[in-house]
Subunit: 166 residues, 2 copies
């Protein structure tokens, strides 16, 4: 064996970070991880990480150029919070079906690429699990693939799960 | 649960493809997979896939422009075969320490990106495991990252394992 560093072992206190968003692919990635990676004997901790989108700067001006009122901005903000909370709640409900797994959550505002990589570093992840898409077509076109970025930049192993087409 | 497709389950006859080359990162990826993904209860099959580099066209002419003799070409070919065989043998020895895992091997000539993705499709892989590099700096510069390509193009989940620096 060429490497002097021993890998972690299933169930021996591994910390598995799962990137969670409101999409079906993220849900499938979490389900796949629970069925295939998490030790059925217990001992693993799942850290559900969600990147809340920061309020974009242009949100203060609507498409016709008028300033939005603070009421409208507050409503946009409330909606974003509700979407985030729903995504994290759904993930926690899925985890609750596996009582042998400890679950933690971490929600941060920012670019999902940075939030996810930083979270993996911060919690000392043994593995990062994520869907291959997530965060929508438009954002992907501007940001590049979140999963590609994480696969290249995170220090831990990265598992990219695609939702089957059928 | 949003997805109608149920993911495979640990130990229930999963087919896990591991990309094998002569590098340490590939060895670490296989070790990581054996310790963290393969079910200790048995039932999984590891398919070790190795892409043998095709003999490059320019090999017939050496740097000073002289044709190489068929003896030299045969010797280059023998060396490539020996490197391939050593990589696969090393991987099989690592697997032999886990007698509950069934092991198959698949060696094909060609661009590693195509060989690995095609193999994953052909064997109906439930998971593809690979190192993040492999295949050398020069080839990576020309071909792009093999793992990036597979993460984008393989239909199954892809686990990219980096060897820790320490």
């Amino acid at each position: 064996m060429a490497s002097a560093v021993a890998p972690p072992t299933a169930g021996a206190g591994r910390r598995i970070v799962v990137a969670v968003d409101e999409g079906d692919e993220s849900t499938y990635a979490l389900t796949w991880c629970l069925a295939n990676v998490v030790s059925p004997a217990g001992g693993d901790t799942l850290v559900l990480v969600h990147a809340r989108r920061p309020r974009p700067v242009y949100a203060a001006i609507d498409s016709s150029g008028y300033m939005m009122t603070s009421d409208v901005l507050a409503s946009v903000e409330r909606h974003a919070h509700a979407v985030s909370a729903a995504a994290v709640d759904k993930a926690k409900r899925l985890c609750a079906e596996h009582p042998h797994v400890k679950v933690e959550t971490l929600v941060e505002s920012g670019d999902p690429r940075d939030v996810i990589c930083d979270a993996a570093d911060k919690v000392g992840a043994d593995l990062l699990v994520m869907g291959s898409h997530g965060y929508g077509f438009i954002q992907r076109a501007f940001l590049g693939s979140v999963s590609n970025h994480c696969a290249q930049n995170c220090k831990c192993p990265v598992l990219i799960v695609k939702r089957p087409k059928e």
